[in-house]
Structures are given as C-alpha cells and as structure tokens.
C-alpha cells in the first residue's frame, strides 16, 4: 500500500436511484479526479447503490472544530421555539 501515500484522499458522495441528494458514503485514494470517480464507481456502486457520483478532494473540505462544539452548537439547545412545532396552527390551515 506504499503508493497510496502519494495519492491524495477523496471524499465520495452518491445519489441513489430515488434519492434527492448526494450522501457522503466514504473516502478513497486516487491520483486525480477521473480516477477518483472510477474508483468510487468500483468501490461504492457495486451493489447498485447509486446513479450519480460526486468526488471532492478531502483537503478542499473545511470542517468545524470539534473543540468549539460548545460554542457552536449548545446555544441552540434552549431555543425550542425555533422548531415550527412551537406554533399553534389555525384550523383553516391544512396539510401541514
């Protein structure tokens, strides 16, 4: 596996036949974008998992810092009124 050290890592997103959006399914190594698509096809769609593939080099993804989770996500915890269920719907409004 020594070669894989020099091949960049790619993240793979697959849209299933009835899916509306691409979902992250995993990652793989490839020397360029074309090879990444082919590798994704061979590794992640062998059992008819999808009909569309996106790949993006992992280094192009900026992720949130897990150490900042308290500051980033906790403030939302006590603001339940942001959920639409908080509101009472008038009777005339149907199909919600």
């Amino acid at each position: 596996m020594s070669n894989s050290k020099s091949w960049p890592l790619w993240e793979v997103f697959i849209r299933s036949k009835h899916g509306l959006s691409h979902k992250h399914v995993g990652s793989l190594h490839a020397s360029d974008a074309d090879m990444a698509i082919e590798n994704a096809r061979d590794v992640y769609t062998r059992r008819q998992e999808g009909i569309s593939i996106w790949v993006v080099e992992s280094k192009s993804i900026t992720a949130s810092d897990p150490k900042l989770n308290d500051a980033m996500f906790e403030p939302a915890e006590d603001k339940v009124y942001r959920h639409p269920t908080f509101y009472e719907l008038p009777d005339e409004l149907k199909h919600m």
Partner: protein
C-alpha cells in the same frame, strides 16, 4: 458434436474464463485497495460474459450438459481462447497492457455482433458491450497514465507492449470456424476489425508517448487449441475441485 457456431462460442467463452482467472490472481495483491477492487470487478464482468456463452453452448449442444461441463471438463487442447489472455500477469503494466489490447479488440467484436443474425449472440453482445466500454476506458487511461508518467513507468509499459505484441496478431487471423461463420454473415470481418483496432491503438499510444512495436511476426494457435505452456497450469488450478469431486457445489 462441435458445430462451427459452438466452436466460435467456446472461443468467446474461453477468452472470458481464462482472462477472469488471470485477473483473479490479483485479488488481494493490487497496488492499492481501490485498484484491486477495480480489477476483480473486471474479472467478474468477463466471467459473466463467459457464462452466457457457455450457457448458450450447453443449450445448442443438447446433450443435457450445463455451463460447468464446458468450463471444468474440457482439456487444454479443447480450449479455444486467445494466447494473449493466458499470458502471466507480470507487473501492473503488463496486466493493464494485456487488458488494453484485449478490451480494444473485444469492444470492436461486440460492437459488430450487435447486428448478428443470431439474436442470442446479439443480446449477449449488447450486455457485454456496456461492460467492455468501461473496461476499455479504464485500461486506456492506465496505459496513458503509465506511458506519460515517470521514466520508470514509461519503461515498464513500453516493455509490456513490446513483449505482448506478438500475441495480438492472432486477433485478426481467423480460425476456420470464424471464416465459415463470416461467410454465413454471422461474425465480423477481421480486416475491418484490424484497421479499427490499429487506429484506436495509435491514438492511445500517441497520448501515452509509447512506440507501437514494429515486429510483424505473430504467435497463433490459441483459437484452435494450440496453447502456450501457461494454459495447462491455469486449468490445473481452475478445474482441480471439479475434477477431484465431480458435480460438487458450494
């Protein structure tokens, strides 16, 4: 009895079976995990193609044999595969050059068989062509990547082309059963295949900065059962279980 059609179908089936066996040897040994899977995927595709042809042979043969009989209980001299597909894997460059020579050829064969008067052959060709289109894309890209890569990769893929070249002449030298079927309008014109094969090879080699080997002496015999020393060893592996325990199933 082996009719000319059965002989031709066995030729196509044996190509797939033996190449699948060779590609299967890479399983667990690929240079990286992703390419290991890619190669075994191709192996399974060509094995699937072989099975369709063996099944059709079993049907035409009418002696109540199954596809397994033709894969496991024929001897070396009865196999009609191309010499190319039984050649050892060598390094990655060898395997991919062998694959490119073969894919380039089979893509043209299946394309012409789409309009075969025998509708069963045409249907198998239609299914196989989708797979081979992908194989050809895959192997062409590797030939280009290695040829136009580093000094070392260029040297190795050029060496593979030089060494395997003598097994490509057989593609376009029809066996007597092919000539007969061609006269009946069932099989492709080998000279048309040859020029299309050379054109595409020229394009890929140009992009890969590879030289097309100049030697014009070619091996032949595989199509009529005269094989290199390698086929017997492949069959020993491939057939051992069924020969030792006939009819055994998983």
């Amino acid at each position: 009895m082996e009719t000319t059609k059965i002989k031709y179908l066995l030729h196509l089936a044996d190509n797939g079976l033996i190449l699948a066996q060779r590609l299967g040897e890479w399983c667990g040994h690929g240079p990286v995990l992703e390419q290991d899977i890619a190669l075994t995927n191709i192996a399974l595709d060509v094995l699937g193609q072989a099975r369709y042809f063996y099944q059709y042979v079993a049907e035409l043969d009418g002696n109540g044999q199954t596809e397994d009989h033709f894969a496991y209980f024929r001897d070396e001299r009865e196999f009609k595969n191309l010499l190319l597909v039984e050649q050892p894997n060598g390094d990655w460059a060898y395997t991919l050059m062998r694959q490119f020579f073969y894919d380039n050829y089979m893509q043209l064969v299946y394309s012409s068989l789409l309009t075969c008067k025998d509708t069963q052959i045409a249907a198998i060709a239609a299914k196989a062509l989708k797979e081979v289109n992908y194989h050809l894309k895959f192997s062409s890209e590797w030939v280009i990547r290695l040829g136009d890569g580093t000094e070392e990769s260029h040297k190795r893929i050029q060496q593979a082309a030089n060494d395997l070249w003598e097994f490509t002449g057989e593609f376009f030298k029809p066996a007597s059963y092919e000539t007969e079927l061609f006269n009946e309008g069932l099989t492709p014109d080998s000279q048309k295949l040859k020029s299309a094969w050379e054109t595409r090879l020229g394009e890929v080699f140009a992009e890969a900065t590879l030289e097309i080997p100049a030697n014009t002496w070619f091996q032949s015999g595989g199509k009529t059962g005269v094989h290199s020393e390698y086929l017997g060893l492949i069959l020993t592996d491939l057939q051992s279980i069924q020969r030792a325990y006939p009819g055994s199933i998983w």
